[in-house]
Protein backbone atom coordinates (compact mmCIF):
# COMPACT_ATOMS: atom_id res chain seq x y z
CA UNK A 1 0.00 0.00 0.00
CA UNK A 2 1.33 3.41 -0.90
CA UNK A 3 0.18 6.88 0.15
CA UNK A 4 0.87 9.54 -2.51
CA UNK A 5 3.41 7.11 -3.99
CA UNK A 6 5.26 6.72 -0.69
CA UNK A 7 5.50 3.46 1.20
CA UNK A 8 4.48 3.51 4.91
CA UNK A 9 8.11 2.75 5.79
CA UNK A 10 9.39 5.80 3.91
CA UNK A 11 6.76 7.98 5.63
CA UNK A 12 7.63 6.55 9.05
CA UNK A 13 11.40 6.89 8.61
CA UNK A 14 11.16 10.42 7.17
CA UNK A 15 8.90 11.60 9.99
CA UNK A 16 10.82 9.96 12.84
CA UNK A 17 14.17 11.17 11.52
CA UNK A 18 12.91 14.71 10.98
CA UNK A 19 11.29 14.65 14.43
CA UNK A 20 14.63 13.62 15.95
CA UNK A 21 16.25 16.44 13.99
CA UNK A 22 13.67 18.97 15.20
CA UNK A 23 14.15 17.92 18.82
CA UNK A 24 17.77 19.02 18.43
CA UNK A 25 16.33 22.49 17.78
CA UNK A 26 13.71 22.45 20.56
CA UNK A 27 14.81 25.78 22.06
CA UNK A 28 14.65 27.47 18.66
CA UNK A 29 11.22 25.97 18.04
CA UNK A 30 9.98 27.21 21.43
CA UNK A 31 11.17 30.68 20.46
CA UNK A 32 9.50 30.37 17.05
CA UNK A 33 6.27 29.36 18.80
CA UNK A 34 6.59 32.40 21.06
CA UNK A 35 7.28 34.63 18.09
CA UNK A 36 3.90 33.59 16.69
CA UNK A 37 2.03 35.63 19.31
CA UNK A 38 1.14 38.32 16.76
CA UNK A 39 -2.57 37.43 17.05
CA UNK A 40 -2.41 38.15 20.80
CA UNK A 41 -0.85 41.55 20.17
CA UNK A 42 -3.63 42.28 17.68
CA UNK A 43 -6.19 41.05 20.20
CA UNK A 44 -5.00 43.47 22.89
CA UNK A 45 -4.87 46.27 20.31
CA UNK A 46 -8.42 45.72 19.08
CA UNK A 47 -9.76 45.14 22.62
CA UNK A 48 -8.14 48.30 23.97
CA UNK A 49 -9.54 50.38 21.14
CA UNK A 50 -13.00 48.92 21.67
CA UNK A 51 -13.38 48.03 18.05
CA UNK A 52 -14.60 44.51 18.75
CA UNK A 53 -18.15 45.56 18.00
CA UNK A 54 -17.20 46.84 14.56
CA UNK A 55 -16.11 43.26 13.77
CA UNK A 56 -19.58 42.10 14.93
CA UNK A 57 -17.75 40.23 17.72
CA UNK A 58 -18.05 40.42 21.47
CA UNK A 59 -14.77 40.75 23.37
CA UNK A 60 -14.91 37.08 24.34
CA UNK A 61 -15.52 36.02 20.72
CA UNK A 62 -12.62 38.20 19.66
CA UNK A 63 -10.35 36.55 22.27
CA UNK A 64 -11.38 33.11 21.10
CA UNK A 65 -10.88 34.07 17.46
CA UNK A 66 -7.33 35.30 18.00
CA UNK A 67 -6.36 32.31 20.17
CA UNK A 68 -7.72 30.07 17.40
CA UNK A 69 -5.80 32.12 14.81
CA UNK A 70 -2.66 31.60 16.87
CA UNK A 71 -3.22 27.82 17.03
CA UNK A 72 -4.09 27.52 13.32
CA UNK A 73 -0.98 29.51 12.44
CA UNK A 74 1.18 27.28 14.66
CA UNK A 75 0.09 24.21 12.71
CA UNK A 76 0.04 25.68 9.23
CA UNK A 77 3.16 27.84 9.11
CA UNK A 78 5.37 27.09 6.08
CA UNK A 79 8.91 28.12 5.23
CA UNK A 80 9.68 25.81 2.31
CA UNK A 81 10.88 28.70 0.10
CA UNK A 82 13.75 29.40 2.47
CA UNK A 83 14.72 25.74 2.86
CA UNK A 84 14.60 25.18 -0.88
CA UNK A 85 16.54 28.31 -1.72
CA UNK A 86 19.28 27.42 0.76
CA UNK A 87 19.50 23.85 -0.53
CA UNK A 88 19.63 25.05 -4.14
CA UNK A 89 22.30 27.68 -3.47
CA UNK A 90 24.48 25.40 -1.34
CA UNK A 91 24.26 22.50 -3.80
CA UNK A 92 22.37 20.23 -1.39
CA UNK A 93 19.51 19.96 -3.86
CA UNK A 94 21.64 17.94 -6.28
CA UNK A 95 21.77 14.70 -4.25
CA UNK A 96 18.07 15.10 -3.42
CA UNK A 97 17.21 15.32 -7.11
CA UNK A 98 19.10 12.09 -7.73
CA UNK A 99 17.08 10.03 -5.27
CA UNK A 100 13.87 8.21 -6.14
CA UNK A 101 11.69 10.48 -4.02
CA UNK A 102 10.47 13.97 -4.86
CA UNK A 103 12.55 16.51 -2.84
CA UNK A 104 9.36 18.27 -1.72
CA UNK A 105 8.45 15.24 0.41
CA UNK A 106 11.53 15.88 2.54
CA UNK A 107 10.27 19.40 3.21
CA UNK A 108 6.76 18.13 3.96
CA UNK A 109 8.18 15.73 6.53
CA UNK A 110 10.33 18.39 8.16
CA UNK A 111 7.30 20.70 8.46
CA UNK A 112 5.13 17.97 9.95
CA UNK A 113 7.87 17.01 12.39
CA UNK A 114 8.27 20.64 13.38
CA UNK A 115 4.53 20.93 13.99
CA UNK A 116 4.70 17.96 16.31
CA UNK A 117 7.60 19.57 18.18
CA UNK A 118 5.68 22.85 18.46
CA UNK A 119 2.61 21.15 19.90
CA UNK A 120 3.60 21.26 23.63
CA UNK A 121 4.73 24.88 23.35
CA UNK A 122 1.52 25.92 21.60
CA UNK A 123 -0.49 24.03 24.23
CA UNK A 124 1.44 25.79 27.01
CA UNK A 125 0.83 29.22 25.48
CA UNK A 126 -2.89 28.43 25.16
CA UNK A 127 -2.91 27.33 28.82
CA UNK A 128 -1.29 30.62 29.90
CA UNK A 129 -3.78 32.53 27.75
CA UNK A 130 -6.74 30.91 29.49
CA UNK A 131 -5.16 31.41 32.92
CA UNK A 132 -4.84 35.12 32.26
CA UNK A 133 -8.17 35.36 30.47
CA UNK A 134 -10.46 32.72 32.08
CA UNK A 135 -13.68 34.20 30.68
CA UNK A 136 -12.65 33.22 27.14
CA UNK A 137 -12.15 29.57 28.01
CA UNK A 138 -14.13 27.21 25.81
CA UNK A 139 -13.98 23.62 24.66
CA UNK A 140 -15.14 23.09 21.09
CA UNK A 141 -17.52 20.23 20.38
CA UNK A 142 -15.83 17.12 19.04
CA UNK A 143 -17.17 17.52 15.44
CA UNK A 144 -16.10 21.20 15.45
CA UNK A 145 -12.65 20.23 16.70
CA UNK A 146 -12.38 17.54 14.03
CA UNK A 147 -13.42 19.93 11.24
CA UNK A 148 -11.04 22.58 12.59
CA UNK A 149 -8.20 20.02 12.45
CA UNK A 150 -9.13 19.13 8.86
CA UNK A 151 -9.38 22.80 7.83
CA UNK A 152 -6.03 23.56 9.51
CA UNK A 153 -4.37 20.67 7.69
CA UNK A 154 -5.84 21.84 4.41
CA UNK A 155 -4.62 25.36 5.24
CA UNK A 156 -1.14 23.90 5.71
CA UNK A 157 -1.35 22.11 2.34
CA UNK A 158 -2.48 25.29 0.55
CA UNK A 159 0.27 27.35 2.21
CA UNK A 160 2.81 24.65 1.36
CA UNK A 161 1.70 24.58 -2.28
CA UNK A 162 1.76 28.38 -2.53
CA UNK A 163 5.31 28.48 -1.18
CA UNK A 164 6.36 25.51 -3.32
CA UNK A 165 5.11 27.45 -6.32
CA UNK A 166 7.37 30.34 -5.34
CA UNK A 167 10.18 27.90 -4.49
CA UNK A 168 9.96 26.45 -8.01
CA UNK A 169 10.82 29.92 -9.28
CA UNK A 170 14.26 29.33 -7.72
CA UNK A 171 15.01 27.48 -10.95
CA UNK A 172 14.67 30.85 -12.72
CA UNK A 173 15.66 33.32 -9.99
CA UNK A 174 18.25 32.33 -7.44
CA UNK A 175 16.62 34.58 -4.83
CA UNK A 176 13.10 33.24 -4.66
CA UNK A 177 12.82 34.31 -1.03
CA UNK A 178 12.40 37.88 -2.25
CA UNK A 179 9.50 36.68 -4.41
CA UNK A 180 8.02 35.13 -1.27
CA UNK A 181 7.19 38.70 -0.17
CA UNK A 182 4.62 38.67 -2.99
CA UNK A 183 2.53 36.20 -1.03
CA UNK A 184 3.62 37.12 2.49
CA UNK A 185 2.12 40.61 2.42
CA UNK A 186 -1.31 39.52 1.15
CA UNK A 187 -1.11 36.59 3.54
CA UNK A 188 -0.52 38.95 6.46
CA UNK A 189 -3.44 41.23 5.62
CA UNK A 190 -5.94 38.94 3.91
CA UNK A 191 -5.61 35.76 5.96
CA UNK A 192 -7.26 37.10 9.08
CA UNK A 193 -4.06 37.08 11.12
CA UNK A 194 -4.15 40.81 11.87
CA UNK A 195 -7.87 41.39 11.79
CA UNK A 196 -10.92 39.14 11.32
CA UNK A 197 -12.22 39.35 7.78
CA UNK A 198 -15.62 40.51 9.03
CA UNK A 199 -13.96 43.89 9.58
CA UNK A 200 -13.40 44.29 5.83
CA UNK A 201 -15.81 46.37 3.74
CA UNK A 202 -18.15 44.05 1.87
CA UNK A 203 -16.87 44.94 -1.64
CA UNK A 204 -13.27 44.20 -0.59
CA UNK A 205 -14.32 41.05 1.26
CA UNK A 206 -16.04 39.85 -1.90
CA UNK A 207 -12.74 40.11 -3.75
CA UNK A 208 -10.67 38.63 -0.90
CA UNK A 209 -12.83 35.52 -0.83
CA UNK A 210 -11.65 34.70 -4.37
CA UNK A 211 -8.08 34.39 -3.07
CA UNK A 212 -6.72 31.43 -1.07
CA UNK A 213 -5.63 33.61 1.87
CA UNK A 214 -8.81 33.67 4.00
CA UNK A 215 -8.80 29.89 3.98
CA UNK A 216 -5.36 29.81 5.61
CA UNK A 217 -6.23 31.42 8.98
CA UNK A 218 -9.60 33.18 9.11
CA UNK A 219 -11.98 30.35 8.32
CA UNK A 220 -10.15 27.52 10.15
CA UNK A 221 -9.95 29.87 13.19
CA UNK A 222 -13.67 30.63 12.97
CA UNK A 223 -14.44 26.93 12.84
CA UNK A 224 -12.27 26.24 15.91
CA UNK A 225 -13.62 29.18 17.90
CA UNK A 226 -17.19 27.99 17.36
CA UNK A 227 -18.40 30.90 15.23
CA UNK A 228 -21.21 30.42 12.74
CA UNK A 229 -19.67 29.38 9.43
CA UNK A 230 -20.55 27.04 6.57
CA UNK A 231 -17.94 24.41 7.40
CA UNK A 232 -18.51 22.14 4.41
CA UNK A 233 -18.34 25.09 2.00
CA UNK A 234 -15.05 26.25 3.54
CA UNK A 235 -13.49 22.79 3.33
CA UNK A 236 -14.78 22.34 -0.23
CA UNK A 237 -13.16 25.63 -1.29
CA UNK A 238 -9.91 24.56 0.39
CA UNK A 239 -10.00 21.32 -1.62
CA UNK A 240 -10.59 23.30 -4.83
CA UNK A 241 -7.54 25.46 -4.07
CA UNK A 242 -5.46 22.34 -3.46
CA UNK A 243 -6.67 20.88 -6.76
CA UNK A 244 -5.81 24.11 -8.59
CA UNK A 245 -2.37 24.60 -7.02
CA UNK A 246 -1.10 21.00 -7.18
CA UNK A 247 -0.88 20.73 -11.00
CA UNK A 248 0.58 24.25 -11.24
CA UNK A 249 3.37 23.34 -8.79
CA UNK A 250 3.98 20.05 -10.62
CA UNK A 251 4.13 21.82 -13.98
CA UNK A 252 6.45 24.57 -12.75
CA UNK A 253 8.69 21.98 -11.10
CA UNK A 254 8.88 19.88 -14.24
CA UNK A 255 9.91 22.73 -16.49
CA UNK A 256 12.03 24.36 -13.80
CA UNK A 257 14.11 21.30 -13.09
CA UNK A 258 15.14 21.27 -16.77
CA UNK A 259 16.75 24.64 -16.19
CA UNK A 260 18.59 23.51 -13.09
CA UNK A 261 22.31 24.11 -13.43
CA UNK A 262 23.34 22.54 -10.11
CA UNK A 263 24.82 25.84 -9.05
CA UNK A 264 26.91 25.83 -5.92
CA UNK A 265 28.17 22.36 -6.66
Amino acid sequence: MKIFGLSPRVIKVLLTTQYANMLEYRIEIALWALSGILPFIMLSLWTESNTANTFSFTNIELSRYFLSAFLVRQFSVVWVVFLFEEDALLGRLSPYLLQPIHPLWRYVSSHLAEQLTRFPFAFLIAFIFFTLNPSSFWIPSFPRFLFACIATNFAFIIAFLLQSLIASLCFWSEKASSLERLIFVPYLFLSGLLVPLSAFPSHILKFVLYTPFPYLINFPARILSGMPVDILKIISIQIIWILILTPIVRFLWQIGVRRYTAMGS
Binding site: S7, R9, V10, K12, V13, L14, T17, A20, N21, E24, Y25, L90, G91, R92, S94, P95, Y96, L97, L98, Q99, P100, I101, R258, Y260, T261, A262, S265
Partner: protein, 330 residues
Protein backbone atom coordinates in the same frame (compact mmCIF):
# COMPACT_ATOMS: atom_id res chain seq x y z
CA UNK B 1 26.29 -2.07 -30.15
CA UNK B 2 25.14 0.63 -27.73
CA UNK B 3 23.86 -1.86 -25.20
CA UNK B 4 27.28 -3.51 -24.79
CA UNK B 5 28.61 -0.27 -23.30
CA UNK B 6 27.68 0.70 -19.76
CA UNK B 7 28.00 4.38 -20.61
CA UNK B 8 27.68 5.71 -24.14
CA UNK B 9 28.02 9.37 -25.03
CA UNK B 10 27.66 10.74 -28.55
CA UNK B 11 28.07 14.32 -29.71
CA UNK B 12 27.26 15.69 -26.26
CA UNK B 13 27.04 19.47 -25.90
CA UNK B 14 25.98 21.89 -23.22
CA UNK B 15 25.47 25.60 -23.71
CA UNK B 16 24.90 27.87 -20.72
CA UNK B 17 23.48 31.34 -20.98
CA UNK B 18 25.56 33.61 -18.77
CA UNK B 19 24.86 37.24 -17.89
CA UNK B 20 27.79 39.63 -18.33
CA UNK B 21 28.25 42.73 -16.22
CA UNK B 22 30.77 45.51 -16.67
CA UNK B 23 32.43 46.91 -13.53
CA UNK B 24 31.47 50.19 -11.88
CA UNK B 25 28.22 52.05 -11.24
CA UNK B 26 27.54 52.59 -14.94
CA UNK B 27 27.98 48.89 -15.56
CA UNK B 28 25.68 48.11 -12.64
CA UNK B 29 22.86 50.32 -13.98
CA UNK B 30 23.37 49.06 -17.50
CA UNK B 31 23.23 45.49 -16.17
CA UNK B 32 20.07 46.27 -14.20
CA UNK B 33 18.08 47.83 -17.05
CA UNK B 34 19.54 46.06 -20.06
CA UNK B 35 21.03 42.74 -19.09
CA UNK B 36 23.24 41.26 -21.76
CA UNK B 37 23.82 37.54 -21.90
CA UNK B 38 26.30 35.34 -23.66
CA UNK B 39 26.11 31.72 -24.65
CA UNK B 40 28.97 29.75 -23.17
CA UNK B 41 29.61 26.38 -24.74
CA UNK B 42 30.77 24.39 -21.72
CA UNK B 43 30.82 21.02 -23.50
CA UNK B 44 31.40 20.70 -27.25
CA UNK B 45 30.41 17.54 -29.11
CA UNK B 46 31.96 15.02 -26.74
CA UNK B 47 32.08 11.30 -27.64
CA UNK B 48 33.20 8.37 -25.49
CA UNK B 49 32.05 5.05 -24.12
CA UNK B 50 32.82 3.21 -20.91
CA UNK B 51 32.57 -0.50 -20.17
CA UNK B 52 31.00 -1.87 -17.00
CA UNK B 53 33.51 -2.05 -14.15
CA UNK B 54 35.92 0.53 -15.58
CA UNK B 55 37.37 3.29 -13.42
CA UNK B 56 37.77 6.42 -15.49
CA UNK B 57 39.25 9.71 -14.36
CA UNK B 58 38.31 13.07 -15.84
CA UNK B 59 41.26 15.44 -15.90
CA UNK B 60 41.06 19.09 -16.73
CA UNK B 61 41.67 22.58 -15.43
CA UNK B 62 38.95 24.46 -13.56
CA UNK B 63 36.13 25.31 -15.96
CA UNK B 64 37.26 22.74 -18.55
CA UNK B 65 33.81 21.12 -18.52
CA UNK B 66 34.50 17.87 -16.66
CA UNK B 67 31.97 18.49 -13.86
CA UNK B 68 29.37 19.57 -16.43
CA UNK B 69 29.89 16.26 -18.27
CA UNK B 70 29.54 14.38 -14.97
CA UNK B 71 26.34 16.25 -14.10
CA UNK B 72 24.84 15.45 -17.50
CA UNK B 73 25.77 11.79 -17.15
CA UNK B 74 23.98 11.49 -13.83
CA UNK B 75 20.93 13.39 -15.11
CA UNK B 76 21.34 16.42 -12.91
CA UNK B 77 21.45 18.83 -15.83
CA UNK B 78 19.99 18.50 -19.30
CA UNK B 79 22.30 18.44 -22.32
CA UNK B 80 21.73 20.97 -25.08
CA UNK B 81 22.49 18.34 -27.72
CA UNK B 82 23.65 14.78 -28.03
CA UNK B 83 22.94 11.27 -26.90
CA UNK B 84 23.65 9.79 -23.46
CA UNK B 85 22.96 6.27 -22.30
CA UNK B 86 23.91 5.22 -18.80
CA UNK B 87 23.18 1.65 -17.71
CA UNK B 88 20.47 1.44 -20.38
CA UNK B 89 18.74 4.67 -19.37
CA UNK B 90 18.49 8.22 -20.64
CA UNK B 91 19.73 10.14 -17.55
CA UNK B 92 17.75 13.34 -18.07
CA UNK B 93 14.48 11.43 -17.70
CA UNK B 94 15.53 10.57 -14.14
CA UNK B 95 13.42 7.44 -13.95
CA UNK B 96 13.42 5.79 -10.52
CA UNK B 97 14.98 2.64 -11.98
CA UNK B 98 17.87 4.77 -13.30
CA UNK B 99 18.29 6.65 -10.03
CA UNK B 100 18.64 3.31 -8.24
CA UNK B 101 21.52 2.42 -10.58
CA UNK B 102 23.64 5.51 -9.95
CA UNK B 103 25.04 7.70 -7.22
CA UNK B 104 26.73 11.08 -7.15
CA UNK B 105 29.25 12.04 -4.50
CA UNK B 106 30.48 15.60 -4.39
CA UNK B 107 33.41 16.50 -2.17
CA UNK B 108 32.48 19.10 0.47
CA UNK B 109 28.78 18.80 -0.37
CA UNK B 110 26.80 16.81 2.07
CA UNK B 111 23.54 14.98 2.13
CA UNK B 112 23.88 13.77 5.73
CA UNK B 113 21.64 15.43 8.31
CA UNK B 114 24.02 17.74 10.20
CA UNK B 115 22.67 17.36 13.73
CA UNK B 116 21.94 13.64 13.69
CA UNK B 117 24.24 10.62 13.59
CA UNK B 118 24.97 9.30 10.07
CA UNK B 119 22.96 6.17 10.92
CA UNK B 120 19.73 8.22 10.76
CA UNK B 121 20.57 9.47 7.27
CA UNK B 122 21.48 5.93 6.21
CA UNK B 123 18.08 4.68 7.36
CA UNK B 124 16.32 7.41 5.37
CA UNK B 125 18.30 6.49 2.26
CA UNK B 126 17.64 2.77 2.75
CA UNK B 127 13.89 3.42 3.01
CA UNK B 128 13.89 5.78 0.03
CA UNK B 129 15.67 3.19 -2.13
CA UNK B 130 13.28 0.48 -0.91
CA UNK B 131 15.93 -1.68 0.76
CA UNK B 132 14.60 -4.01 3.42
CA UNK B 133 15.58 -3.11 6.98
CA UNK B 134 17.67 -6.23 7.68
CA UNK B 135 19.35 -6.07 4.28
CA UNK B 136 20.17 -2.39 4.74
CA UNK B 137 21.78 -3.09 8.13
CA UNK B 138 23.98 -5.76 6.56
CA UNK B 139 25.01 -3.38 3.76
CA UNK B 140 25.71 -0.54 6.21
CA UNK B 141 27.90 -2.69 8.47
CA UNK B 142 29.75 -4.23 5.52
CA UNK B 143 30.50 -0.80 4.03
CA UNK B 144 31.37 0.59 7.48
CA UNK B 145 33.90 -2.19 7.90
CA UNK B 146 35.42 -1.47 4.49
CA UNK B 147 35.58 2.24 5.30
CA UNK B 148 36.85 1.61 8.81
CA UNK B 149 34.11 3.56 10.57
CA UNK B 150 32.20 2.10 13.49
CA UNK B 151 31.48 4.32 16.48
CA UNK B 152 31.23 7.33 14.20
CA UNK B 153 27.96 5.96 12.86
CA UNK B 154 26.26 6.94 16.12
CA UNK B 155 27.81 10.39 16.61
CA UNK B 156 26.19 13.57 15.27
CA UNK B 157 27.61 14.46 11.86
CA UNK B 158 28.66 17.90 13.14
CA UNK B 159 31.02 16.17 15.61
CA UNK B 160 32.84 14.17 12.93
CA UNK B 161 36.11 15.15 11.30
CA UNK B 162 36.12 15.98 7.59
CA UNK B 163 37.61 12.58 6.77
CA UNK B 164 35.03 10.74 8.85
CA UNK B 165 32.25 12.79 7.27
CA UNK B 166 33.49 11.97 3.77
CA UNK B 167 33.50 8.28 4.60
CA UNK B 168 29.96 8.57 5.96
CA UNK B 169 28.92 10.46 2.81
CA UNK B 170 30.33 7.65 0.68
CA UNK B 171 28.48 5.09 2.74
CA UNK B 172 25.21 7.03 2.44
CA UNK B 173 25.68 7.17 -1.33
CA UNK B 174 26.34 3.45 -1.70
CA UNK B 175 23.60 1.92 0.45
CA UNK B 176 21.55 1.09 -2.65
CA UNK B 177 24.51 -0.68 -4.31
CA UNK B 178 24.62 1.47 -7.46
CA UNK B 179 26.30 0.11 -10.56
CA UNK B 180 27.64 3.53 -11.60
CA UNK B 181 29.44 5.92 -9.24
CA UNK B 182 29.95 9.55 -10.21
CA UNK B 183 32.53 11.08 -7.90
CA UNK B 184 33.24 14.79 -8.15
CA UNK B 185 36.39 15.63 -6.18
CA UNK B 186 35.76 12.90 -3.59
CA UNK B 187 38.97 13.61 -1.67
CA UNK B 188 38.76 17.41 -1.73
CA UNK B 189 40.10 18.91 1.48
CA UNK B 190 41.07 15.59 3.06
CA UNK B 191 44.47 15.02 4.61
CA UNK B 192 46.90 12.61 2.95
CA UNK B 193 45.91 9.64 5.14
CA UNK B 194 42.20 10.18 4.65
CA UNK B 195 42.71 10.55 0.87
CA UNK B 196 44.59 7.29 0.82
CA UNK B 197 41.85 5.49 2.77
CA UNK B 198 39.14 6.76 0.43
CA UNK B 199 41.19 5.62 -2.58
CA UNK B 200 41.74 2.22 -0.99
CA UNK B 201 38.03 1.90 -0.35
CA UNK B 202 37.09 2.79 -3.92
CA UNK B 203 39.55 0.26 -5.33
CA UNK B 204 38.16 -2.44 -3.05
CA UNK B 205 34.56 -1.47 -3.81
CA UNK B 206 35.23 -1.67 -7.54
CA UNK B 207 36.79 -5.12 -7.14
CA UNK B 208 33.93 -6.45 -5.05
CA UNK B 209 31.01 -5.05 -7.01
CA UNK B 210 32.39 -4.40 -10.49
CA UNK B 211 30.82 -0.95 -10.28
CA UNK B 212 31.72 1.57 -12.97
CA UNK B 213 33.42 4.60 -11.44
CA UNK B 214 33.84 8.02 -13.03
CA UNK B 215 35.72 10.58 -11.05
CA UNK B 216 37.08 14.06 -11.31
CA UNK B 217 39.91 15.15 -9.07
CA UNK B 218 42.61 17.73 -8.91
CA UNK B 219 44.75 15.38 -6.85
CA UNK B 220 46.92 13.47 -9.31
CA UNK B 221 47.36 10.72 -6.71
CA UNK B 222 43.63 9.94 -7.04
CA UNK B 223 44.00 9.56 -10.79
CA UNK B 224 47.27 7.62 -10.79
CA UNK B 225 46.11 5.24 -8.04
CA UNK B 226 42.55 4.64 -9.18
CA UNK B 227 42.20 5.22 -12.89
CA UNK B 228 43.66 2.90 -15.51
CA UNK B 229 41.98 5.15 -18.06
CA UNK B 230 41.76 8.92 -18.20
CA UNK B 231 39.81 11.41 -20.25
CA UNK B 232 41.46 14.82 -20.54
CA UNK B 233 38.97 17.62 -20.96
CA UNK B 234 40.03 21.00 -22.29
CA UNK B 235 37.61 23.82 -23.13
CA UNK B 236 34.70 21.42 -23.33
CA UNK B 237 36.40 18.88 -25.58
CA UNK B 238 38.07 15.57 -24.91
CA UNK B 239 41.67 15.90 -26.01
CA UNK B 240 42.91 12.56 -24.75
CA UNK B 241 41.25 9.22 -24.01
CA UNK B 242 43.55 6.42 -22.92
CA UNK B 243 45.79 5.15 -20.16
CA UNK B 244 48.07 7.31 -18.09
CA UNK B 245 51.30 5.57 -19.13
CA UNK B 246 50.65 6.15 -22.82
CA UNK B 247 49.83 9.77 -22.09
CA UNK B 248 52.99 10.12 -20.11
CA UNK B 249 55.16 8.64 -22.89
CA UNK B 250 53.43 10.75 -25.55
CA UNK B 251 53.91 13.91 -23.55
CA UNK B 252 57.45 13.25 -22.58
CA UNK B 253 59.65 10.95 -24.71
CA UNK B 254 62.38 10.99 -22.04
CA UNK B 255 63.01 9.21 -18.77
CA UNK B 256 65.10 10.37 -15.90
CA UNK B 257 68.04 8.22 -14.70
CA UNK B 258 69.24 9.21 -11.26
CA UNK B 259 72.35 7.45 -9.96
CA UNK B 260 75.21 7.73 -7.52
CA UNK B 261 78.83 6.92 -8.42
CA UNK B 262 81.43 5.96 -5.84
CA UNK B 263 84.30 8.16 -7.14
CA UNK B 264 84.23 11.78 -8.28
CA UNK B 265 83.81 11.97 -12.06
CA UNK B 266 83.85 15.05 -14.27
CA UNK B 267 80.65 16.41 -15.84
CA UNK B 268 81.98 15.84 -19.33
CA UNK B 269 82.15 12.08 -18.73
CA UNK B 270 78.33 11.81 -18.75
CA UNK B 271 77.40 14.12 -21.59
CA UNK B 272 77.61 11.32 -24.16
CA UNK B 273 74.92 9.29 -22.30
CA UNK B 274 72.20 11.92 -22.27
CA UNK B 275 71.21 15.40 -21.21
CA UNK B 276 72.68 16.18 -17.80
CA UNK B 277 70.07 17.69 -15.52
CA UNK B 278 72.02 17.87 -12.30
CA UNK B 279 75.36 16.85 -10.82
CA UNK B 280 75.82 17.18 -7.10
CA UNK B 281 78.90 15.51 -5.65
CA UNK B 282 78.42 11.86 -6.62
CA UNK B 283 74.73 12.20 -7.53
CA UNK B 284 73.90 12.58 -11.21
CA UNK B 285 70.57 13.09 -12.94
CA UNK B 286 70.37 12.34 -16.68
CA UNK B 287 67.54 12.79 -19.14
CA UNK B 288 67.51 9.91 -21.63
CA UNK B 289 65.28 8.95 -24.55
CA UNK B 290 62.73 6.27 -23.47
CA UNK B 291 63.76 3.76 -26.12
CA UNK B 292 67.43 4.02 -25.16
CA UNK B 293 67.00 3.64 -21.39
CA UNK B 294 68.02 -0.05 -21.19
CA UNK B 295 71.06 0.50 -23.40
CA UNK B 296 72.23 3.57 -21.46
CA UNK B 297 71.74 1.90 -18.06
CA UNK B 298 73.85 -1.09 -19.19
CA UNK B 299 76.54 1.28 -20.44
CA UNK B 300 76.61 3.23 -17.19
CA UNK B 301 76.82 0.05 -15.12
CA UNK B 302 79.74 -1.21 -17.15
CA UNK B 303 81.59 2.15 -17.36
CA UNK B 304 81.24 3.35 -13.75
CA UNK B 305 81.09 2.00 -10.23
CA UNK B 306 77.44 2.72 -9.52
CA UNK B 307 76.26 2.70 -5.89
CA UNK B 308 72.56 3.34 -6.52
CA UNK B 309 70.39 3.83 -9.62
CA UNK B 310 66.77 4.81 -10.21
CA UNK B 311 64.75 5.32 -13.40
CA UNK B 312 61.88 7.81 -13.17
CA UNK B 313 59.19 9.38 -15.29
CA UNK B 314 58.98 13.14 -15.03
CA UNK B 315 56.33 14.12 -12.42
CA UNK B 316 52.88 13.53 -13.87
CA UNK B 317 51.58 16.77 -12.36
CA UNK B 318 54.00 18.71 -14.56
CA UNK B 319 52.91 16.84 -17.68
CA UNK B 320 49.24 17.34 -16.97
CA UNK B 321 49.91 20.99 -16.23
CA UNK B 322 51.36 21.23 -19.72
CA UNK B 323 48.20 19.74 -21.21
CA UNK B 324 46.03 22.21 -19.32
CA UNK B 325 48.04 25.16 -20.55
CA UNK B 326 48.60 23.95 -24.13
CA UNK B 327 45.20 22.37 -24.60
CA UNK B 328 46.60 19.53 -26.67
CA UNK B 329 48.32 16.21 -26.34
CA UNK B 330 51.24 15.89 -28.72
Amino acid sequence: MRKSKHIQVENLSKIYRVADKKPGLKGTFSHFFNRSTNNVEAVKGVNFSIEAGEIVGFLGANGAGKTTILKMLCGLIHPTNGYINVAGFSPQRRQNAFLKEITLVMGQKQQLIWDLPPMDSFQVNAAVYGILEMESKNIIFELAEMLDIGNELYRPVRKLSLGQRMKAELLASLIHSPSVLFLDEPTLGLDVNAQSRVRGFLTEYNKRTNATILLTSHYMADITTLCPRILCVHEGQIIYDGDLDSLSSRLNPNKKIIFEVRSDVSKESFSKYGKIQEINKGFISLLVSRNKVNFIVNQLLSDFEIVDLEIKDPPIDELIGDIFSNGKVL
